[in-house]
């Protein structure tokens, strides 16, 4: 789960990392008041879950409260990569002497978190990684020992030459790791970490992603979910525990299992069609999940044909068949449906579906071809 910069700033501050004063505004007047209480130059920043906010004009300096009001007015309501800005933060601006990057992510190959530091802060770290990978220092962290003081000091000394300031940087590195673990983050980064001409150290931007699997033990962070960027279908999918990703095509699909669902999409493309979505109904599927899934797919006006591809293991084909019948009873579906059910309780499923007129398919290839042709016929 992504959280906003203002939420990440709040978390980092709660772990003792120096974060410049800031507050969140949803209108220009509020932004002006925050600027007044901070005093001096502030920065107004759009709060949306996309990168490149600066380039899109969503980050502006303001020298006084009136300018902060004007900047906030311009940024609020702005469209950044398809998302409408509903919130800005107004934060104290700090003088920049040097800028660093500090980040912690999960290294899948090393099977542990890895801390990355770079003296090339303030710019896109993925660009740095591509163009000058030698400027990023990586340090894997033993998940049982955690970040030791020695490791933090060593990392800090790689980017900051002055020992006294390096100590402050090391302190931030240690606390960032505490925040990473304490929040069950999958990514935590400060970019940039600013060193002021006076030698102070400030986390001027903050980004955190949280492990969805750990939200059950992070109730405060779970509350931070921004549902304003969520469509109705995304909400239904989340509430019904369906994995759903909307795509642009016209062949809707309902599948059990992530790998099989991706393969179904790939086959649609292979046979000349375009998938309308990724949808995994998961393992032990109840009829209710199938009803919800069909609701989401059939409600998409782009969808011209629906493909249901189920390989029964723990998922029982008769459960899915009952879900299909129930969904169609509750809500008539205008698009043609191709059904391919195989595996556990396959023959029971056939009996349940026998009264309905579906295009039934034996194999996955056959099912996908039929669905693609049906969609094309209705284009």
């Amino acid at each position: 789960m992504k959280i906003h910069e203002y939420q990440a700033r709040g978390i980092l501050r709660s772990y003792g990392i120096p974060v410049p004063r800031f507050d969140v505004a949803t209108d220009a007047e509020e932004a002006g008041k925050i600027a007044e209480s901070i005093g001096g130059t502030v920065v107004v920043k759009a709060q949306v879950h996309v990168g490149g906010r600066g380039k899109a004009g969503g980050v502006k300096l303001a020298e006084d409260p009136n300018e902060a009001r004007r900047r906030a007015k311009a940024i609020l309501g702005m469209d950044i990569k398809g998302l409408t800005v509903g919130k800005v933060i107004v934060a104290e601006a700090v003088d920049i002497e040097r800028e660093y990057y500090i980040g912690i992510v999960i290294d899948r190959s090393a099977k542990r978190p890895v801390c990355m530091v770079s003296e090339a802060g303030g710019i896109d770290i993925e660009l740095v990684a591509r163009v000058t990978p030698e400027r990023i220092h990586r340090f894997p962290i033993d998940p049982l020992e955690g970040m030791t003081d020695g490791a933090a000091a060593e990392l800090a000394s790689m980017i900051e030459p002055e020992p006294e300031i390096a100590e402050r940087v090391a302190d931030v590195i240690g606390k960032l790791y505490e925040a990473f673990v304490g929040s069950d983050a999958s990514l935590a980064e400060i970019n940039p970490l600013v060193v002021t001409p006076g030698g102070e150290v400030w986390a001027v931007d903050a980004k955190m992603n949280i492990d969805d699997n750990a939200l059950f033990r992070q109730p405060e962070i779970a509350e931070m979910r921004d549902t304003s960027e969520e469509t109705d279908e995304m909400r239904t999918a989340r509430e019904m525990d369906l994995s759903f990703v909307k795509l642009e095509g016209d062949v809707g699909c309902v599948v059990n299992g992530a790998g099989l669902a991706m393969t179904t999409m790939d086959l649609i493309k292979f046979y000349g069609g375009e998938p309308a979505n990724f949808l995994d109904i998961g393992g032990s599927s109840s009829p209710e999940k199938v009803v919800a899934a069909l609701d989401i797919i059939a409600g998409d006006s782009n969808v011209r044909a629906i493909l249901i591809n189920i390989f029964g293991g723990i998922t029982r084909c008769d459960d899915v068949a009952r879900g299909i019948v129930e969904a169609l009873t509750r809500r008539p579906v205008s698009q043609p449906i191709v059904v391919r059910l195989t595996g556990t309780n396959e023959s029971k499923a056939r009996e349940i579906l026998a009264e309905r007129s579906f295009a039934a398919a034996e194999t996955m290839d056959d099912a996908v071809q039929q669905a693609v042709e049906l969609a094309r016929g209705r284009a």
């Binding site: 899948r108 993925e126 049982l144 033990r217 992530a258 099989l260 669902a261 390989f311 595996g343 996955m364």
Partner: protein, 293 residues
């Protein structure tokens, strides 16, 4: 032979009294798996489908000689359960549980490495050596004993491929799902290496998907260390970047982990990559120098 498990494997089921644990214990027993013990705290002394239940894995191991454990516990309890099993002395842990926090998986992997215990999963269907034993949730009846090893990050997609192999008359030595999470115990290389050394396995099918670099590393391993033919398949050619495709680990992040990169890495290592699952049996036959019988 087969890899990691066979008819001598003595299985403990953690979470045996739960809905899934009980259901799959019955299915495993029906398949012929040597399920010797179950563990649910507070339920010691009961039996589930005739299997004695213990309060701790230590007792289960002491009383029954269990040497492997299958976990059907809630995700939040999985880390503790895995470490308990490892400390009790089992050599193999199969973690079916889905939704285990990534940092828990990191800690478990680290602890199990110290103890020299193998983990398969989490978030996986388990492992089956057809005709011998199954530790997991895959439908037993689609598997047939034979010479093809299958290793996959997926569940149902693996069943699909195994079913295609069965229809083509190609049995399997062992089939394992290594799981769809970012941090997993046993990876492609571990499985490939075991298949390379397994006397019963003649060829291997590797089923990968978008996200991470496990397939790329596997390709490198095949090029340098494997003599047996490997056939590949990668799911997610049409997956958009930045979106988690069901599995926590199936995500193209920062432009990396695409299906294209993985297909190129496998092809570059001389591994034929199927465009569709239905092409896999044919590619295997060709790799083994066999036409249709």
């Amino acid at each position: 032979m087969s890899i990691f498990v066979d008819e001598t494997t003595r299985v403990c089921v953690q979470g045996i009294t739960g809905r899934d644990g009980s259901f799959h214990t019955e299915r495993m027993l029906a398949y012929g798996t040597n399920v010797v013990a179950g563990k649910t705290p507070g339920k010691g002394g009961e039996t589930v489908h005739g299997v004695p239940v213990f309060d701790s894995v230590e007792e289960a191991v002491g009383e029954t000689g269990a040497n492997a454990s299958v976990l059907f516990v809630p995700a939040r309890a999985a880390a503790g359960a895995a470490i308990e099993a490892a400390e009790a002395g089992v050599g193999l842990i199969v973690c079916i549980s889905e939704g285990v926090p990534t940092l828990d998986a990191a800690r478990v992997y680290r602890r199990l490495s110290d103890l020299g215990v193998r983990m398969i999963g989490p978030n996986c269907p388990g492992i089956i050596s057809p005709g011998k034993t199954k530790l997991g949730i895959m439908p037993g009846d689609i598997h047939t004993r034979g010479a093809v090893g299958v290793v996959s990050r997926s569940g149902t997609l693996t069943y699909e491929v195994v079913d295609q192999l069965r229809r083509d008359g190609q049995g399997q030595s062992s089939v394992l799902g290594i799981g769809g999470d970012p941090i997993i115990g046993t990876n492609f290389i571990d499985a490939l290496s075991a298949f390379e050394h397994d006397g019963e396995t003649e060829a291997v099918v590797l089923i990968g998907e978008i996200g991470g670099t496990d397939e790329e590393q596997a390709a490198e391993f095949v090029r340098e260390h494997m003599t047996k033919p490997v056939v590949g398949f990668i799911a997610g050619r049409t997956a958009p970047p930045g979106k988690r495709m069901g599995h926590a680990g199936a995500i193209i992040a920062g432009g990396r982990g695409t299906a294209q990169e993985k297909i190129e890495a496998l092809s570059g290592a001389g591994i034929p990559v199927a465009d569709r699952p239905s092409e896999i049996p044919g590619l295997l036959r060709r790799s083994l120098g066999r036409g249709h019988d």
